[in-house]
């Protein structure tokens, strides 16, 4: 019962709740929305235990939808998507709680959109039908567009339309690619279906078309990631979005790109994706993202922009990890995706909280506030450290795995990417210093109030995750491993390392350099 309906419930519940929120009086909106999102999280939590780490799709449900085109409502999760779903349901209540006093106008609409957005995001991660996937992929665009455009900062209109058109450009080409795949598979087998498995098993013999199709998928996902030259929507969208928007944007929306690569672009077109040229391009772009993102972040006067550029760098690690295709790097990439959601989410929350008090995002507007708001300063420090991957925090485990895994495939590139940790320290610590340390020069800052219990309630779960994943990530890694293994086995047969003989001393194949 639970296994069959849970994903559908996760998709339907926020939608229903969203409508309810919209119809209720605005003053009730946030309470209802919070309750709904907590329930949503509660529904999703048993996934953790009931999930069987064997690399298969679970909790699947399959119903005909538009039979004429072979479109089904097919959902399911595996080790790759499980944690993205959980991350989504985990971040949503926090986002709602974090918007509590930030959003003052048209609350009903805001919270309803957040809930609808939840459906879209979860839908992207659980869809096993490409039509459904595409619908969900686009569905989350509109709420985000409104969230940025209606509740955003001064330059919100520009940011919103930029975000929309950028994403739309990529996704529409992907749409064509999906349809071409569909027609190709249909012509080859006589079965016209958008089912993931069907298209996957018939994505062969495409010839040069595969390059075009991969290009279309690549564009859609690379924009979302965002990969280097396609990233300029991100700083604008992040900066202008309200706190919850930024959190979700960074925490979940960006993961859709990398998830798309893992789930679609790579498995569908392995020959293209793993060709010399594409590998070279991706690795170079990831590297640029890591170093360039960090360097540009270093000189941002706006704290949110800084975090936005740091996201470019973080996601560069993910891309590198995915393309390296070793067990460590892929799992590391998955972990970095989760970590980035937690740490960057927390950073955005913190910036939002201080923004609510002071109405400025400029780093220069602060300074020395650790004296005034010690708790805020302490948490900001911890979160920043997690973001720069200090060992003991979640950030380290992810980046370490990515790098150590990628080193086998791309030693030189990984060595260069590792230097990203230096840049990361440079930009975040500089910002940290200029915000919470240094002399307190601005009088407006002297009377800042420290975090309220509500805000602490938002941050504590994130802090717990930061430390938990940093110290004991095994439960997560264990659940991911079979799926990651299956993926690599499918793309590069025979390269996956044998499962360890037993925990502890790593007796592995040594010697290859």
């Amino acid at each position: 019962m639970y296994a069959r309906w849970v994903l559908t419930a996760l998709l339907a519940w926020p939608l229903i709740a969203g409508v309810v929120v919209l119809l209720l009086p605005a003053r009730l909106a946030k309470y209802v929305a919070l309750a709904a999102s907590v329930i949503e999280f509660a529904i999703s939590v048993p996934l953790w235990w009931t999930f069987v780490p064997d690399g298969s799709m679970q909790f699947t449900m399959d119903r005909a939808w538009i039979a004429a085109w072979g479109i089904h409502y097919t959902v399911g999760v595996d080790g790759i998507s499980l944690f993205l779903v959980l991350l989504t349901t985990f971040l949503m209540p926090l986002s709602i709680l974090g918007s509590w006093s930030y959003i003052t106008k048209r609350e009903g609409g805001f919270y309803a959109l957040l809930l609808v957005l939840t459906t879209g995001m979860i839908g992207v991660f659980v869809s096993l039908d490409l039509f459904l996937f595409y619908v969900m992929w686009e569905l989350m665009l509109i709420p985000m567009y409104f969230i940025i455009g209606v509740w955003g900062g001064d330059n919100r209109l520009y940011a919103a339309i930029k975000f929309f058109i950028y994403t739309f450009l990529g996704s529409l080409l992907m749409l064509v690619a999906i349809i071409v795949l569909y027609v190709h598979a249909g012509n080859a087998t006589g079965v016209y279906s958008f089912a993931y498995a069907h298209l996957l098993s018939n994505a062969k013999d495409l010839g040069p078309t595969a390059w075009w199709l991969f290009g279309a998928f690549f564009l859609a996902f690379a924009i979302k990631v965002p990969l280097f030259p396609l990233h300029t929507w991100l700083p604008d969208a992040h900066v202008e979005a309200p706190t919850a928007g930024s959190v979700i944007l960074a925490g979940i929306l960006l993961k859709m790109g990398t998830y798309g690569f893992l789930r679609f672009a790579l498995p569908f077109f392995p020959a293209v994706a793993l060709s010399q040229t594409v590998q070279l391009v991706i690795v170079i772009l990831s590297l640029i993202g890591i170093i360039y993102g960090g360097l540009v972040a270093m000189v941002q006067p706006d704290f949110k922009k800084l975090i936005a550029y740091s996201s470019v760098a973080h996601l560069g690690f993910v891309m590198l990890g995915i393309w390296a295709l070793t067990l460590q790097s892929v799992q590391g990439a998955l972990l970095v995706m989760i970590n980035h959601g937690i740490s960057t989410g927390a950073l955005f929350f913190l910036v939002g909280m201080i923004y609510e008090r002071r109405h400025s995002r400029l780093i220069a507007a602060y300074g020395g506030i650790a004296r005034v708001v010690p708790l805020f300063a302490a948490i900001l420090t911890v979160v920043s450290l997690s973001s720069i991957a200090l060992p003991g925090t979640n950030g380290f485990v992810g980046e370490f795995l990515v790098l150590i895994g990628a080193f086998r495939t791309y030693p030189l590139a990984t060595a260069l990417a590792t230097s990203g940790v230096i840049v990361a320290a440079a930009y975040l610590l500089t910002a940290l210093q200029r915000v919470i340390y240094n002399p307190l020069t601005q009088h407006e800052n002297e009377n800042l109030t420290d975090l309220t219990p509500r805000e602490i309630a938002v941050l504590v779960p994130l802090l717990v995750c930061i430390l938990w994943i940093g110290i004991y990530p095994k439960p997560i890694l264990r659940r991911m491993e079979p799926s990651a293994r299956a993926l690599i086995e499918q793309l590069k047969p025979g390269t996956v390392q044998a499962p360890p003989a037993g925990a502890g001393a790593g007796e592995g194949e040594g010697g290859q350099q």
Binding site: I66, A68, Y134, E138, G149, I161, L172, L175, V176, I179
Partner: protein
């Protein structure tokens, strides 16, 4: 029910909807001759018109239900699912137009119930266009429709803009008719007949395409290209749409376009399926229409002109369906035209609500802050815009998706790519509408207080929104209908493997 038009009873039966409509038009004409002064006369005429359209729809339904068809006989009139579905679109477009006309006509003091007579006659022309199995029928029907619409465009005689629109439309329309007619003449010369099925038969038995045929075909395409407002034959559209009374604009953008496309489909696929030359032309027309329509729409501030160019762009998408052809292309066309009719009409309805008596232009900025004052209206327009943009969850997306499938099945991947790329451009002018309504403040206090629709207009808008969302999520029945209709046009032709 197999009808043989040679038998008078069968002929009448096959023309039943048209006869019903004609009958109602005459009744209405009589009524108008008798009562044509007050608001109430206008309202009663409107209700009668709705009644007429409903009964016509029922007649269509009856024929469809009984699977009426003219099969195996050379006839002036085709009776197949394609015709019924197209007819429903026309009738629906007309009905929605009537619904949104009440507010407009009364507000603009256009108390002439002849409006409704002309609307019915124009609809009759459309239905005959979709029914025509002979070029001469199609030509006459097209003229019937055009004449009615010329007049409707200039219906608001008090306004110079309306008159100017009528004149431009008329002159260019007559000019284009000349080309169409010349095309018919040349095709007649080349094949010795004007019957579509016969032309198809003669061309398929290895008759070499002569220069005369090709010239005729080209001129036919030009003639239809004008009516569907394909670039570069589109230039009348923005001006005429702009100047015509808004409900008429809506009717033109939906019904007229749909009818022209329906005829185009029948002509191309029943008569010229064996001639490859036109595919190339259609391909180019589709490309430049999509690019042109979308680019030009970007430069507009006036909402009405923007919608005009947008309708040009959508003609481009439909041309992709024409180019793709096959059952899929035809079905895609029908699905798309249903969606397009709904969303365009919805948009124009909101435009009517926003416009003020005598006011000429509604700019996009005039909508600023509408969502706060009129949330439902704003929501409706937003849904229409998203649907026009082709956003999932709306019928516009389903339609576009279908066209893409048709194009891809036909191997037209480039065309599909151009379609989506130009769609991205279209976000550049659809989104600002939403943006204005939701994200900008009201320009002045109470800027939208007098924005309203009467209950008929609201019903129309509600119907549109429900339709758009319903078809966006659950298009199955529509697909079956469209599929059967597509099959019926291609009964003798080749059917592609893809859906």
């Amino acid at each position: 029910m197999n009808l043989n038009p040679a038998i008078p009873r069968d002929l009448l039966l096959s023309l039943l909807p048209e006869l019903v409509l004609t009958g109602w038009a005459l009744v209405l004409l009589l009524f108008v001759a008798w009562r044509h002064r007050t608001v109430w006369d206008l309202r009663i005429a409107g209700w009668l018109t709705l009644l007429a359209l409903v009964s016509t729809a029922v007649a269509i339904w009856w024929l469809w239900w009984n699977r009426a068809g003219v099969r195996g006989v050379v006839s002036m009139i085709a009776a197949d699912d394609f015709r019924w579905v197209a007819d429903w679109v026309f009738v629906g477009a007309a009905a929605l137009t009537v619904l949104i006309s009440f507010t407009y006509l009364e507000r603009e003091r256009l108390l002439a119930p002849e409006y409704h007579v002309l609307l019915l006659l124009g609809t009759l022309g459309m239905m005959l266009m979709a029914a025509g199995a002979d070029l001469i029928v199609i030509f006459l029907a097209l003229e019937l429709m055009s004449v009615a619409v010329y007049v409707l465009a200039g219906f608001d005689r008090r306004r110079a803009r309306s008159a100017e629109a009528a004149l431009k439309y008329f002159l260019l329309g007559a000019f284009a008719s000349g080309f169409l007619l010349y095309g018919i003449a040349l095709v007649y010369g080349a094949t010795g007949t004007t019957n579509l099925v016969l032309i198809g038969a003669r061309l398929s038995i290895a008759m070499r395409a002569s220069a005369m045929l090709l010239a005729g075909l080209a001129l036919l395409i030009v003639g239809f290209g004008f009516k569907i407002a394909a670039v570069p034959f589109h230039m009348w559209a923005p001006d005429v749409y702009d100047g015509a009374p808004t409900p008429v604009t809506a009717f033109m953008a939906t019904g007229v376009k749909a009818a022209a496309f329906a005829a185009l489909f029948r002509v191309m696929y029943q008569a010229f399926a064996a001639v490859p030359a036109w595919h190339d032309i259609m391909w180019w027309l589709a490309v430049i229409t999509m690019i042109g329509g979308n680019l030009f729409a970007l430069g507009q501030r006036s909402l009405k002109r923007m919608l005009a160019y947008s309708s040009v762009a959508h003609a481009g998408y439909l041309l992709v369906a024409v180019t793709a052809g096959g059952v899929a292309g035809t079905s895609a066309f029908l699905v798309y035209i249903v969606a397009y009719t709904l969303m365009s009409l919805g948009a124009f309805a909101v435009l009517i609500a926003k416009g003020r008596a005598g006011e000429s232009d509604v700019t996009i900025d005039d909508l600023s802050g509408l969502a706060a004052r009129r949330p439902w209206l704003a929501f409706a327009l937003a849904v229409c815009m998203l649907s026009l943009l082709g956003f999932p969850g709306t019928a516009g997306f389903i339609g576009k998706w279908y066209i893409l499938i048709a194009a891809t099945s036909a191997g037209q991947n480039t065309l599909a790519a151009i379609l989506v790329l130009t769609s991205v451009v279209s976000a550049g002018y659809y989104l600002p509408v939403i943006m204005a309504m939701y994200m900008k403040p009201e320009p002045i206090e109470a800027a939208h207080v007098d924005v309203c629709l009467d209950r008929w207009g609201r019903a129309a808008v509600a119907a549109v929104v429900v339709g758009l969302l319903l078809f966006g999520v659950w298009p199955n029945r529509l697909f079956d209908l469209a599929r059967a209709a597509g099959d019926s046009v291609h009964a003798g032709g080749t059917t592609t493997a893809a859906p």
